[in-house]
């Protein structure tokens, strides 16, 4: 599972960023990137099948749990290897690593619930006539879901 973005619906309001930050006690995991003043794209952890961040993690803090790339904070030393291993730059470290946890423990990811434009979903079926889904797949080959 991951968070799917219907790029044609994103309005660049950054509500996903603020909501994610709010429910995670101040540390947010999604970044909206603006492209040439013509589009905005929120970049989420893809929960890659072959997660390079988990491969690089020497302590096992980052690891796969089924479809999800999970994070065990107790094992993290903030070494920074994961942040350098992510092809999308979505993992960041400050004392410890910070990464999307799909709002584990909540009924649905806060970003999906909050998006005013209805651009985010977890089931890969965006309600758009364009159907241009930015699926949970890595741009770099090898991490395709």
């Amino acid at each position: 599972m991951t968070v799917y973005v219907d790029i044609n619906r994103c309005i660049g309001c950054r509500s996903c960023e603020v909501a994610c930050q709010r429910v995670h006690g101040g540390s947010g995991h999604v970044r909206v990137s603006f492209v040439e003043g013509l589009a905005s794209v929120p970049i989420f952890c893809h929960h890659c099948e072959e997660a390079f961040c988990a491969a690089a993690c020497f302590s096992g803090a980052l690891h796969k749990e089924g479809d999800r790339t999970a994070f065990d904070v107790d094992k993290c030393t903030g070494c920074g290897l994961c942040a350098l291993a992510c092809p999308f730059g979505v993992v960041w470290t400050e004392k410890i690593a910070h990464k999307c946890d799909l709002c584990w423990g909540r009924t649905e990811p806060a970003c999906v619930a909050t998006c005013p434009a209805n651009a985010l979903s977890t089931d890969g079926e965006p309600p758009s006539r364009q159907s241009q889904v930015r699926a949970g797949r890595a741009g770099a080959s090898g991490c395709l879901r």
């Binding site: 040439e36 070494c79 730059g89 364009q130 741009g139 090898g142």
Partner: protein, 143 residues
């Protein structure tokens, strides 16, 4: 006190983060990361245990031995030029990622690109591919 093997240390942030007595000082400035392992009398071995490269060992306290220090040039991002990571850390990533996954759709060695630029590149890719209509045409025209 700590002994560091300079051939093994990758210049990461682990030991400086875990030391409970702030004996290990790390700073990034002007494109160089410097790590200083100060003399310590502690008997904890957190830094040793949590070193990804197994570069640290505990040795008996000795006033005459100088405190180990290492410097690492921070590698420049291939896109924006910002100095973002020590070379040994990047080499370690290159060893961990399958070789045929180390180039992005534009053919770049993405490990040699800083995380901020990787995120931006992913956004550009997604926008060029996915945005339709008037905007999509403009995005695909532009470069």
């Amino acid at each position: 006190m700590i002994k560091v093997d300079p051939n093994l240390c990758i210049g990461c942030r682990s030991c400086s983060n875990v030391c409970p007595s702030q004996n290990i000082l790390r700073s990034d400035s002007e494109g160089i990361r410097r790590i200083l392992w100060k003399r310590c009398r502690e008997e904890c071995d957190l830094c040793v245990e949590f070193c990804p490269a197994k570069a640290l060992t505990l040795v008996p306290f000795d006033e005459s031995v100088s405190e180990p220090q290492l410097s690492f040039d921070l590698v420049s991002c291939r896109i924006c030029g910002s100095r973002y990571a020590p070379e040994p850390m990047l080499s370690r990533i290159e060893a961990a990622v399958p070789p045929d996954s180390q180039r992005d759709p534009e053919g770049r060695e993405w490990i040699r690109v800083c995380p901020a630029c990787r995120l931006r590149a992913e956004a550009q890719r997604a926008a060029r591919e996915g945005v339709s209509g008037r905007r999509g045409e403009a995005l695909r025209r532009g470069k």
